[in-house]
Each structure stands twice: as C-alpha cells, then as structure tokens.
C-alpha cells in the first residue's frame, strides 16, 4: 500500500503541472540536466572519502582499532559483537552492513543482538561521507560544531538501540 504512494504522487505532480500549463517535458529535462554538474561536483568528494575508507578497511587498520577498543567498551555495557559495526557506521555503510550480516548468521536475525544491530543500522548515517558531500558541494570549509554534534547523535542512537532492543526483545 505505502509503496504505491510515491509513484502516484509523482503522477499527481505531472497532472498538476499540466493543469498549471507547465511545459512538463522541458521541465523534466531541465531538472534532470542539473544532475550532471551535480554528479561531477560530488565525485571528487566521494573519491576522497572512499579512498581512505577502502584503505582503512582492507588494510586491516579498522580491525586493529576495533580490537583495541572492544575491551574497554564492552566493560561499559556495549556488546562486543556490535562494536565493530558501531565504529564503522559513521564511515561506511557497506562495511558496517558486512558486520550486521555476520551477526545475523551467528546469532540469528530475530535475536536481541540481531534486532539491536538492525536498529543501529537503520537509525544512523554515514556521517563523514554525508558531511563531506553536503559541505564540499557548496564549498563550506568551516563546519563549526556539525561533526561533533553528529557524532554525539550517532552515539545516542547506538546506546538507544541497545537499550530499547533489550527492553522490547530481551
């Protein structure tokens, strides 16, 4: 049902534009045309980010850091299994997702850990990539307090995910 809303909304926009005597075809083409310079503008930022992420992931440094941190953090109540994905999530969605499927395999999709991992994955964002992209695209260099706030918000979602899943499914 809900999946039908978006395409029907798009169709309604077209009908409304026709009613408003808009040259719909030209409007679409002109809008779509703007995506080309946009892609060209964001590609370098993506490349900069993905080069570093690939280095950290395949080079094994990320594993080293998560191993180093898993001891002290698990003492704070964060399940050790969830730690690598919590740490990776701000950098790379696909890398974090690899750990989520690992948890699915080992603990089960509907286990408390599986639920917590799914919730964490759905309630956080690849922060570094998003900030680099959005700010880079318009040439902002002084990002002020955005990154620390985003990281704190991400931490909140990690803690909240574990807490709520323990409460509901534990």
């Amino acid at each position: 049902m809900s999946a039908a809303v978006i395409p029907l909304l798009a169709a309604a926009v077209v009908v409304y534009a026709l009613y408003k005597k808009v040259n719909v075809y030209d409007a679409f083409v002109n809008g779509a045309k703007e995506s080309l310079p946009l892609i060209a503008r964001i590609l370098p930022y993506m490349a900069a980010m993905l080069i570093v992420i690939e280095l950290l992931n395949t080079g094994g440094m990320m594993d080293m850091i998560t191993n180093l941190l898993s001891g002290p953090l698990s003492r704070l109540g964060l399940p050790a299994e969830l730690l690598p994905m919590a740490l990776l999530r701000p950098f790379s969605g696909s890398a974090a997702m690899a750990f989520v499927s690992d948890i699915f395999d080992k603990n089960g999709v509907d286990s408390v850990l599986g639920m917590a991992a799914s919730t964490m994955m759905g309630s956080s964002e690849t922060i570094f990539y998003t900030l680099a992209l959005y700010f880079g695209c318009v040439g902002i260099q002084k990002t002020r307090f955005t990154l620390p706030v985003a990281l704190i918000a991400s931490l909140v979602s990690v803690i909240a995910s574990i807490w709520i899943c323990n409460l509901m499914f534990g």
Binding site: I6, A10, V13, V14, Y16, V22, N23, V24, A27, F28, A32, S35, L38, I39, A47, M49, L50, I51, V52, I53, E54, L55, L56, M61, M97, V109, D110, M115, S118, T119, G122, S123, S124, E125, I127, F128, L133, Y134, G136, C137, G139, I140, Q141, K142, T143, R144, F145, T146, L147, V149, A150, I152, A153, S154, V156, S157, A160, S161, I164, M168
Partner: protein, 188 residues
C-alpha cells in the same frame, strides 16, 4: 576540521597498510576506493536524473514555492534563516523519513545550494546548515525500508519488528542533535 580528519586517516591508513600488507596492496586499495566512487556516482546518476527531473516539474508548477511558504514558520524555528531553502529541506527530510536515500541526496544538495546563496561568509556554515546536516546525520526514519528488506532476505520471521525501535532510537538521536545545535549556535 575535515582536512585534518582526512589527512590523519589517510596518513595512518597508508602507513599501516604499507607496513602490514605491502606498498602494492596499499596502492591497490586506494585505486579500488577511487573506482568505487566512480561506479557509485554512475549508479547514483540515474537516481539523480529521475528525482531532479521530477523536482524540476514540481518547481515549474510552483509546488516547491508553495511548500516553502506553508512550512516557513515551523521550518524557521528549526532551521533559522533557511528562507527559500525550506521546500527543498522539507523534501529531503520527507525522503529520508521514507527511507529513500537516493532521492534525499539531490533534494538535500539543492537545499544546501539555496542556503549558501544567502550566506554572507561563503566558507563558514550557517546555523541552518549545521542543524540541517545534524538532522540528516541522525537519520530519522519512519520506515527503514532498506533494513526491513535486508532482514527479510536474511530469513527473519518478523522483518518489520524494528520499525518502532528504529523510530525511537533515531528520534532520540534527532532530538539530541537539534538540542545541541541550538545550544551551540547561541553561544558562537
């Protein structure tokens, strides 16, 4: 800030990988990352074409301006000084809430462009931009469509059981982000 973080990550990643797996491996990893960016951009290109084309029609029909006007008051409270970017911000947040990340990005970049237009110091982020990005980073989702799909594919008996937990978790993160932004924006 980004410059420092990137430099540190690049330096540490390169040195670590070179000493642990060799120089060739490090260079290959960098190359793979750059190539991923290109393929990702190409696949995103299709989504951007579609959504920016539809956005173009909505703009021409005056729908975006109408949306901006309607939501100016609540938006002005949340994103002080967002002005004409209101419509694009709304679309971005709506797309994010529905779990349509590919549609959210072009709307979000359009919002950034409009906010940058009225920015006096082009190198420094405005309050509205900071809140906008903090809200984006806290990933408020009504229906985490991607995750539900992945859970279903992994054989879950109740793939959508995470809807409520995700909403609570991302809702809390969003509230904290907004609160912190307001606090910090006032002080600076």
């Amino acid at each position: 800030m980004m410059s420092w973080i990137w430099s540190i990550l690049f330096f540490a990643g390169t040195v670590w990988t070179t000493f642990s797996s060799g120089g060739d491996f490090a260079l290959n990893a960098m190359m793979a990352g750059a190539q991923k960016a290109v393929t990702l951009c190409i696949s995103l290109g299709g989504a951007y074409m579609l959504w920016m084309g539809l956005l173009g029609i909505a703009k021409e029909a005056g729908l975006i301006a109408a949306l901006s006007k309607k939501l100016r008051r609540p938006c002005e409270w949340l994103f002080p000084g967002a002005g004409e970017a209101t419509g694009a911000i709304t679309l971005n947040i709506a797309a994010n809430m529905l779990g349509m990340g590919n549609a959210a990005t072009p709307f979000g970049l359009e919002a950034m462009r409009l906010m940058q237009k009225n920015n006096k110091d082009k190198r420094r982020a405005t309050d509205a931009m900071c809140v906008f990005l903090a809200v984006n980073a806290s990933a408020l989702e009504l229906i985490p469509t991607t995750m539900i799909g992945l859970r279903g594919a992994a054989g879950s008996a109740q793939p959508s059981a995470i809807v409520i937990t995700t909403l609570i978790s991302s809702g809390l993160a969003t509230i904290v982000a907004i609160f912190l932004c307001r606090l910090l924006a006032r002080e600076s």
